[in-house]
C-alpha cells in the first residue's frame, strides 16, 4: 500500500489545480464532482493505508520521494511517514473533510460559479496542506504543511473579501499564526544544529543525548508554534474572529483539523516533551488557563458561531492539558472525538444559519426544534457529546483527560472539571436558546424557515453517529480491561507517561465514584441551563457588571490593541516619518546632491588654460616622486 500513499495528498492538490484554474469555465456540477470526488478518493486510499497500519505487526513506513534540500551535511528528504498516529489523522482529515465538502455543495449554493469553484479550490488546497503536515517524516515537511494550512485558513476566512472586517479577521489570523510559526521555525533550526538532522527518527533517537536545557528551549519554541496554530493564550484571539469565514470552513479548519495541528505536533514530538518537564508544565498551565478563560467567555456570547469558537479554544486547552500532564493518548483521543462533535455542531449551526438566512444571533432564534428536526436531533447529540454524557464520544475522552489531570495534580483536575461544567452549561444554553422556547426572529425569517437539503443533513447524520460511537474505541480500564483500543493502537508511537508518583492514586471504585460525581454535576448544569433558557421569555437586557466583562471577552482584544497594536502602529509611523523620510531619503538624496555639488566645484578646474593643466601635472609628478622616494612605506 505504501506505493499509493502519495495519492492521499496528491488528489486534493489535483482538485485544487482543476478547480482553481478552471473556475471561470467549469460547470457547477463538475466543480462538485472534482471537489468532493478527490477527497472521497483520498479517503478511500487512507482507509486502505489505515487497514495496513492497523494490521498486527505493522511497522512504520517511511516513504522517500526525493532530496528536498541537500547541501553539505544538511540532508532534508521529501519523505512521508505512515505510522499509527499519522494514519489516524489521515482518516479524520479525509473523512471529515469529505463530509464537509459534501455539505458545502449545498451550503454555498448561493455563490456565483466562479467563487464557488474558488471556494472548493481553497478547501482542496487546505486538505492537501493538512495531509502534508501529518504525513511528513521530518519537521520541514511538517512545516511546509503548517504554513500551507495557515495560508488556506487566511484565504478562507477572507473568502468574502468584499467585506472589510472579514479581511481584517483574515489578516489577524495570519499575523497571529506567523508569530507562532516563528517559534516553530526557530525550534527547527535549533534541532538541526543540535541533532544535525530534522527527521523524526534521528531527532527522537538522539533526544536523550541532548542537555535538558536545550530540550526545554526546543520544546518551548515548538509549543509557541502550537500556541499560534492551536489558538492558545496569548495567541488565541484570532480563532473567534476566524468565524468570519463560511461555516463549513469553521467546521473543517477552525474546529476539526487545522487547529489540532499543534496537538499533533506535540504528540508527535512526545519524546522531546517527556524529557523536558518544565515545558510540559508550561503546556499544561497554558492549556488549562486557556480552557478556563475561553469557557468563561463562551458563557456570555450571543453569536452561535462565536460560542462554538470559544468552545473550540476551550477544548483545545483541555487537549493541551492532557499533553502537558503526559497523557498524549488522551490528547489525541480528544482531538478525534472533538473533531467529530465539533464538526457536527458547526455544521448544525451552519444548517441553522442557512435556515435563518444568515442570522447568527441566538437571541433572535428559538423554537427551531419543530422546523429543523434533523438538525435539532444531531445538534442535541453534539451537545451531549461535548458535555460529556455517556455513552457519547466526549465522555470517554474528557474523562481520560480528567483522570490524567488528577493523577498529576489535583489543581489541574479542579480547573479542568470547572471547564467541563461550564462547557455543559454554555452548550446547553446555546441549545435551548436556539431550539426551544418560541421564535424571536422576524416574521419573514419565520416564514422561510426550512430544513436543510440532503447534502447538508447527510453529513450531520454521519457525524452524529460518529459522535455517539466514536468514543467506544477508548473505553477506560474501569469498565473493561484492555478495552482501550486507541491506546493499544497508538502505543508504538505515542506512549502516555503516567507520573511515577501520582499525586492521587485512583482505585477503580474511586474512579467510578468520581466519574459518577462529575456526571451528576454536568446534569445539574444542563438542568440549570434549561431552567434559565428554555422558557418563553428570554431576558435580552444588556449585560452589566461581571457578565459585561465576559461578554466583552475579558477585553483581551482591547488590551492587545492598547499594548501591542497601538505601539507598533506608532513605531511604524515614526519609522516612516522620521527614519524613512528623513534619514534614508536624506542619505540617498544627499549622495546625489553631494556629487552634483562637488561636480560643480570641480568644473572650475577645467579652465582651458593649458598652463594650469601642466602645473597640476607637475605638482602631481613631484608629489608622486616625493611619495615614491622619501615616503618609506
Amino acid at each position: 500500500m505504501s506505493k499509493y500513499v502519495f495519492l492521499i495528498p496528491l488528489l486534493p492538490l489535483v482538485g485544487f489545480m482543476i478547480n482553481g484554474l478552471g473556475r471561470n469555465f467549469l460547470s457547477r456540477m463538475l466543480v462538485n464532482i472534482v471537489g468532493c470526488g478527490v477527497l472521497i478518493a483520498s479517503f478511500v486510499v487512507s482507509l486502505l493505508v489505515f487497514r495496513e497500519v492497523a494490521a498486527p505487526g505493522a511497522t512504520p513506513m517511511v516513504i522517500r520521494y526525493f532530496d528536498f534540500i541537500k547541501a553539505g551535511g544538511l540532508d532534508i528528504q521529501a519523505s512521508f511517514l505512515v505510522d499509527q498516529l499519522s494514519a489516524l489523522f489521515l482518516l479524520v482529515i479525509t473523512g471529515i473533510g469529505s463530509l464537509i465538502h459534501v455539505y458545502s455543495t449545498a451550503y454555498m449554493h448561493e455563490e456565483t460559479t466562479a467563487h464557488y469553484a474558488r471556494y472548493f479550490a481553497y478547501l482542496n488546497l487546505f486538505v492537501f496542506s493538512m495531509l502534508l503536515l501529518v504525513l511528513g517524516s521530518n519537521f520541514v515537511v511538517m512545516f511546509i504543511g503548517w504554513e500551507g494550512v495557515g495560508l488556506c485558513s487566511y484565504l478562507l476566512i477572507g473568502y468574502w473579501f468584499e467585506n472589510k472586517s472579514y479581511n481584517n479577521a483574515a489578516k489577524k489570523a495570519f499575523v497571529m499564526n506567523r508569530i507562532g510559526d516563528l517559534g516553530f521555525l526557530l525550534a527547527i533550526f535549533w534541532m538541526l544544529s543540535q541533532f544535525g538532522s530534522i527527521a523524526y527518527a534521528d531527532v527522537f533517537s538522539k533526544a536523550s543525548t541532548a542537555p535538558t536545557t536545550v530540550l526545554t528551549g526546543i520544546t518551548i519554541l515548538l509549543f509557541v508554534g502550537a500556541m499560534g496554530k492551536s489558538a492558545q493564550i496569548p495567541l488565541y484571539t484570532w480563532l473567534p474572529d476566524a468565524m468570519a469565514g463560511p461555516t463549513p470552513v469553521s467546521a473543517l479548519i477552525h474546529a476539526a483539523t487545522m487547529v489540532t495541528a499543534g496537538i499533533y505536533m506535540i504528540a508527535r514530538s512526545n519524546v522531546l516533551f517527556t524529557l523536558a518537564p518544565i515545558s510540559q508544565n508550561l503546556v499544561a498551565i497554558i492549556g488549562i488557563s486557556t480552557a478556563l478563560l475561553a469557557a468563561t467567555i463562551a458563557l456570555k456570547q450571543n453569536d452561535i458561531k462565536k460560542v462554538l469558537a470559544y468552545s473550540t479554544v476551550s477544548q483545545l486547552g483541555l487537549m493541551f492539558l492532557a499533553l502537558g500532564v503526559g497523557a498524549y493518548t488522551a490528547g489525541v483521543f480528544h482531538v478525534m472525538t472533538h473533531a467529530f462533535f465539533k464538526a457536527l455542531l458547526f455544521l448544525g449551526a451552519g444548517s441553522v444559519i442557512h435556515a435563518m438566512h444568515h442570522e447568527q444571533d441566538i437571541m433572535k432564534m428559538g423554537g427551531l426544534r419543530k422546523k429543523l428536526p434533523i438538525t435539532h436531533i444531531t445538534f442535541l447529540i453534539g451537545c451531549l457529546a461535548i458535555a460529556g454524557i455517556p455513552p457519547f464520544a466526549g465522555f470517554f475522552s474528557k474523562d481520560e483527560i480528567l483522570t490524567a489531570a488528577l493523577e498529576k495534580h489535583p489543581v489541574y483536575y479542579v480547573l479542568a472539571l470547572a471547564t467541563s461544567l461550564m462547557t455543559a452549561f454554555y452548550m446547553f444554553r446555546l441549545y435551548f436558546l436556539t431550539f426551544s422556547g418560541k421564535f424571536r426572529g422576524s416574521h419573514e425569517q419565520e416564514h422561510h424557515l426550512h430544513e436543510s437539503p440532503v447534502p447538508m443533513t447527510l453529513p450531520l447524520i454521519v457525524l452524529a453517529i460518529l459522535s455517539v460511537v466514536g468514543g467506544w474505541i477508548g473505553i477506560p480500564a474501569v469498565f473493561a480491561e484492555n478495552a482501550h483500543l486507541l491506546s493499544n493502537f497508538l502505543s508504538p508511537v505515542v506512549a502516555s507517561v503516567r507520573p511515577a508518583h501520582p499525586a492521587i492514586h485512583l482505585t477503580h471504585s474511586s474512579e467510578l465514584a468520581l466519574m459518577g460525581g462529575v456526571l451528576v454535576l454536568i446534569l445539574v448544569m444542563i438542568v440549570l441551563a434549561s431552567k434559565k433558557f428554555a422558557k418563553e421569555n428570554i431576558d435580552t437586557a444588556e449585560p452589566s457588571g461581571f457578565s459585561a466583562v465576559l461578554s466583552n471577552k475579558w477585553y483581551v482584544d482591547e488590551i492587545y490593541e492598547a499594548i501591542v497594536v497601538r505601539p507598533i502602529n506608532w513605531i511604524s509611523s515614526f519609522l516612516s516619518r522620521v527614519v524613512d523620510n528623513k534619514l534614508i531619503d536624506g542619505l540617498v538624496n544627499g549622495v546625489g546632491k553631494g556629487v552634483q555639488f562637488s561636480a560643480r566645484q570641480f568644473r572650475l578646474l577645467q579652465s582651458g588654460q593649458v598652463g594650469s593643466y601642466i602645473l597640476i601635472m607637475m605638482i602631481a609628478i613631484i608629489l608622486f616622486f616625493i611619495f615614491q622616494l622619501f615616503w618609506k612605506l
Binding site: Q606, S607, G608, Q609, V610, G611, I614, L615, M618
Partner: protein, 114 residues
C-alpha cells in the same frame, strides 16, 4: 682621461628640464613653449646617454666584447625622430593658428571652454 662623474650629467639634465618646465608654465608664446618642450626632451636624452655610457664602461671592464648599456643610445635616436616629427606637425599647427587669429598667444586658444 679624467672621467666626469655622473652627478654632473644629472644636474645638467635637471637644470635643462627645469628650464623647460618653467618655460612651458610661464611663457604664452606657443613657439617658445614648443622650444621648451624640446628642451625637456633633450634633457632626458642627455640623461639617457650619460647612464648608458656609465653602464657600458662598467660592463666593458670585465668583458671587452660586451654591448651592454648601449640600448639607451638607440632609444635616444627614437626620441629624436619622434621629436622631429612632432615639431613638423606642431609648427604646422602654429602656422595655421597664426593665419587664423594672427597671434601665437596660447591664452587666446580657449574657445573650447565657451
Amino acid at each position: 682621461m679624467p672621467v666626469i662623474p655622473i652627478n654632473y650629467y644629472i644636474f645638467l639634465s635637471l637644470a635643462l628640464f627645469t628650464i623647460g618646465i618653467v618655460g612651458v608654465l610661464t611663457r604664452r608664446n606657443a613657439i617658445i613653449i614648443f622650444m621648451c618642450i624640446e628642451l625637456m626632451l633633450n634633457a632626458v636624452n642627455v640623461l639617457l646617454v650619460a647612464f648608458s655610457k656609465m653602464h657600458h664602461v662598467a660592463a666593458f671592464a670585465t668583458d671587452r666584447a660586451t654591448t651592454a648599456g648601449t640600448e639607451a643610445q638607440l632609444f635616444v635616436f627614437f626620441i629624436m625622430v619622434v621629436a622631429a616629427a612632432e615639431v613638423t606637425v606642431g609648427l604646422a599647427i602654429i602656422v595655421m593658428l597664426y593665419r587664423n587669429i594672427h597671434s601665437v598667444d596660447i591664452n587666446f586658444l580657449n574657445r573650447l571652454k565657451h
